[in-house]
């Protein structure tokens, strides 16, 4: 496995170093190319692995690989300096069991006279032969947002409603000009869920179906072996579903089971007990009592970063009564149990990674801090974002820590990682630099940037209005979430009419073949806007916006 990964990496590196020679006679007329692929961090504070802190360090990386680390290392002339004196440098975070950028695979139509008791596997949500990579949008905006938070590598799960959606892949959050796929068929994804309306329809059917699939995969493999030596037998018919399961049975690929509660964890352990595959459980959000068992079975564990809502800090006055108080106490206890779960795993000496699935991005650091406040050590938290997932994913040789030979995946922080004031200054992924430092850009006179939020049928929609005045005419752009899921899009602002007390303009949105006319108008009071967004033919939706003091200017 490791050799395979390295091979991929090696081929990447070959390509990369060749890159400048493949311009086919064209100059880099937009200035996209970087000047060098060699950088060094100077005089910085380095946290090479959880629990270690080294000050005054230099770190040299070239073509995405860390070449040297130390106080006195030789810096080649082509290396560009990144001043690290005030920075804390961590290994890039690794996300597990993440689905951003994944699209639902196409599922065949149900035939006429469809018999829901005997659907073809794909209709039943049983397609372990699908690969996450076949339905992955590289460079999707979500992953870029995760990178802003320090994630440089992620295990991507395929989408799909049923029990076996396909195999997972490992991808980098690297530069969009590169192919960022690290490895395919990383593990096989299983979950206790169904498509609905066909067999299997519930966990009852899922468990039974799994047992049948496993038995038949074994028989299929046996048939294959027999057929390879005895040609007078019935030929082996291709069965992509069973064939995809054989590597799991042979412990070549782990089975990654998603859990939504401790009963799922128990079911996963029962399945492993029966069939002895390598097991990773993701989405763990409870099950303190299961820790010893999980430890004994050497299960790869992935805890969720998603935490329940805090309903206890602010309880309305009218709700206090003995009965309410009692129920609240118990719910609060359950809440605190969730917050302290990672700490419990750590104390038991059980390594685990984290998954961002279901996590609201803005809660990432907040939730980790909550876990730390409730018993998880800072080293433990860092380990769950770096070393441990690397171990579970069997990529410790190239990721998870900062040392010579590892991939140049780093997070540069303004302070120690989990302190309240810490900000991500820069993320280095695959040797590429992503600068998130706040530059002290000033607003050009006459320019405005508004951050808006609109309530539409599809939920909340957010974005920015960038407006510039030139010769008394306002022009600009509006950014919005693509209704088709294509990430952030922009459109040109037209017919802008702006006074001190009002703001109005229109723009168009392309949805498939349709063009939607959108009109925005409303009142301005100081720094805030409140008004209406009319989508022609659909209706009116309320919009609120805030004027940014320091708009980012690119």
């Amino acid at each position: 496995m490791r050799a395979f990964n390295l091979l991929i990496l090696f081929s990447f590196l070959c390509l990369w170093s060749l890159f400048p020679f493949f311009l086919f006679g064209q100059s880099d007329r937009n200035g996209d190319r970087r000047v060098t692929a060699t950088y060094y961090l100077s005089n910085t504070t380095l946290i090479p692995s959880p629990g270690k802190i080294l000050t005054g360090q230099n770190l040299l990386f070239e073509d995405g690989v860390i070449k040297a680390v130390g106080k006195n290392i030789t810096i080649p002339a082509e290396a560009q300096e990144i001043k690290g004196d005030s920075l804390f440098v961590y290994a890039g975070f690794i996300d597990m069991a993440n689905k951003t950028g994944m699209v639902e695979p196409p599922i065949p139509e149900k035939p006429e006279h469809f018999d829901p008791s005997q659907p073809i596997p794909e209709i039943a949500g049983i397609h372990p032969h699908f690969s996450a990579l076949d339905h992955f949008q590289e460079n999707n905006p979500h992953d870029k947002e995760w990178r802003k938070l320090g994630f440089t590598l992620a295990q991507k799960l395929p989408k799909g409603k049923g029990m076996l959606p396909g195999s997972a892949a490992l991808v980098m959050y690297g530069h969009e000009s590169r192919n960022n796929i690290l490895s395919d068929n990383q593990s096989l994804y299983f979950k206790f869920s169904t498509v609905g309306g066909v067999y299997p329809n519930t966990d009852l059917g899922v468990m039974a179906k799994w047992r049948d699939l496993i038995q038949n995969a074994r028989l299929h493999e046996m048939h294959g072996q027999m057929y390879s030596s005895q040609k007078d037998l019935r030929r082996l018919e291709k069965d992509p579903v069973l064939e995809a399961l054989i590597p799991v049975l042979n412990k070549e690929t782990p089975l990654l089971i998603e859990s939504t509660g401790e009963l799922d964890i128990r079911r996963a352990l029962k399945m492993q007990e029966q069939d002895k595959f390598n097991l990773i459980i993701t989405g763990i959000n409870e099950g303190e009592s299961l820790i010893p068992l999980l430890k004994e079975k050497q299960v790869g564990m992935v805890l969720t970063l998603d935490l329940p809502e805090d309903k206890f800090s602010d309880v309305a006055e009218d709700k206090k009564g003995a009965d309410f108080q009692h129920r609240t106490e118990r719910a609060k206890k359950a809440y605190l149990e969730k917050l302290s779960l990672p700490g419990k795993f750590e104390q038991a000496g059980v390594p685990f990674g984290f998954t961002t699935k279901h996590l609201n991005r803005t809660d990432f650091l907040k939730n980790i801090r909550l876990m730390i406040d409730n018993g998880l050590s800072e080293e433990g938290a860092l380990a769950a974002l770096t070393v441990h997932p690397a171990e579970i994913l069997k990529i410790s040789a190239i990721a998870g820590t900062l040392s010579e030979g590892k991939m140049a995946n780093m997070v540069l922080m303004s302070d120690t990682l989990f302190s309240e004031k810490a900000k991500v200054i820069m993320v280095i992924s695959d040797g590429y630099l992503f600068d998130y430092s706040e530059k002290s850009n000033k607003i050009k006179k006459g320019d405005m940037v508004w951050e808006y939020e609109a309530e539409t049928q599809g939920g909340k929609s957010k974005g920015k209005w960038n407006l510039t005045r030139k010769d008394k005419v306002w022009t600009g752009t509006v950014s919005y979430d693509d209704p088709q899921g294509g990430g952030i899009k922009t459109s040109t602002i037209k017919n802008a009419a702006i006074t001190e007390a009002s703001l109005a303009f229109s723009f168009t949105v392309e949805v498939g073949e349709n063009t939607l006319e959108v009109k925005v108008s409303g009142d301005v009071t100081g720094e805030s806007f409140s008004g209406n967004m009319e989508i022609k033919g659909y209706g009116n939706y309320p919009v609120k916006a805030k004027k940014l003091e320091k708009p980012e200017i690119k």
């Binding site: 966990d203 009852l204 039974a208 038995q215 009592s289 809502e309 003995a322 359950a334």
Partner: protein
Amino acid sequence: MQTKILLLGLWMICCSKVVCQAQNASKGDIFIKNAQVLTITNGLLENTDVLVQDGIIRQIGSGLRAPDGIPSIDATGKYLMPGIIDAHSHLALEVINEASSPITAEVKMEDVIDPFDVSIYRALAGGTTISHAMHGSANAIGGQNITLKHRYGTRDPDQLIMKEAPRTIKFALGENPTRVHGRGKNLQPRSRMGVEAVIRNGFEEALQYKKVWDDWNASGNDSKKQQIPPVYSSRLETLVAILEGEIIIHCHSYRADEIYMLIQVCQEYGIDKIVFSHVNEGFKVAPELAKYTMGASVFADWWAYKFEVYYSTAYNAAILTKNGVVTSINSDSDELIRHLYHEAAKTQRYGGLTDDEALALITINPAKQLGIAEQVGSIEVGKQADLVLFDKHPLSIYAIPQMTWVDGVKYFDRENDAADQRLKVDPEETLEPIFLHTEHHNCMRDVDFYFTGFGRNLFGHRH
């Protein structure tokens, strides 16, 4: 003011630790002195002591002496009976129906046991120590059931399983399977004819399956088979096991004709391990039930909730009993399971059963139907100490269960009963849902998906 004090008191009790945190599958010792012992198999023994050690009833008699260290209870004037057994229940299950196919013999209720269901505790508070957690009635041949011991407090579903219990499976006839598959999905069965056909098809396929595997197993040694391996099917494996007598059928049924049909089919295939459940019209074929089956498990008085139970009688249990059918009273409901002793008592109003006959309906008879009569169902030396102590005779309306033991471990004690017995609490649930006028019976849970176009009245009643 009084309410406030009451509420405060409740709250304080709740804040103290949940009482019943019994050890996982532990076995207990207890010495119950001077009780009115309703043995079931040996009548009423007055002023009698019962000694339990390591979860087993060791001695029954008067003037017994307990070894040191065994906790004892003075039960003077109180009635001790065996833990109540419910032969048809759906409590402690996360899922009830895998309604996607007319035959789902491969699915196992043991995969979806929910140890956090507070209904388990409530059942204990009603003296019920064993329940038969069944698949629903959506399919002609449903899933494999599991017999549970109510060891409430464990988080491990396996700790609830009664390991000694034999395998059982759910069958279902009549309106439910024909509605789900025939009307819901345009699949057979759509009629009672179809139900028979589906079951016969299943048995015939199982016989063919068995033959294919027997042939393959016989075709040379493992390294050199002469044939390719057949396809494995846990569904057909299970049906083969039924035909070979390894699994007891518990069949949801109402009408006499359908009951008789399945008796006929079973006779043809040599199956004698079959119990009919609900079996509202069982009284019409009582002699046949007595002769060919392991009995009938009925409701005390439910009727008229759907057409196939319109011609029912509350005298069903009495008629069956007097015709020599092994009869039990079941709950099929998280509510009824709380007072099966009262349900059994109704057979004294409707048919005048004796105390022994009435009590057998919820103890030794369901034990026989579940194949666990060697272990439980009566107070006898050597049996498992599942016991319940009542303040009055359990067939009296005024009787209140005081303590309940499973394997000699006390799981319920009315005197030290904390209000909130939930094992697991939703951290986001500060507004707790309330359940009013909900259907307590669950035979048709998890099949709603198939009825989006049918209108609500179809799920009004679900057993």
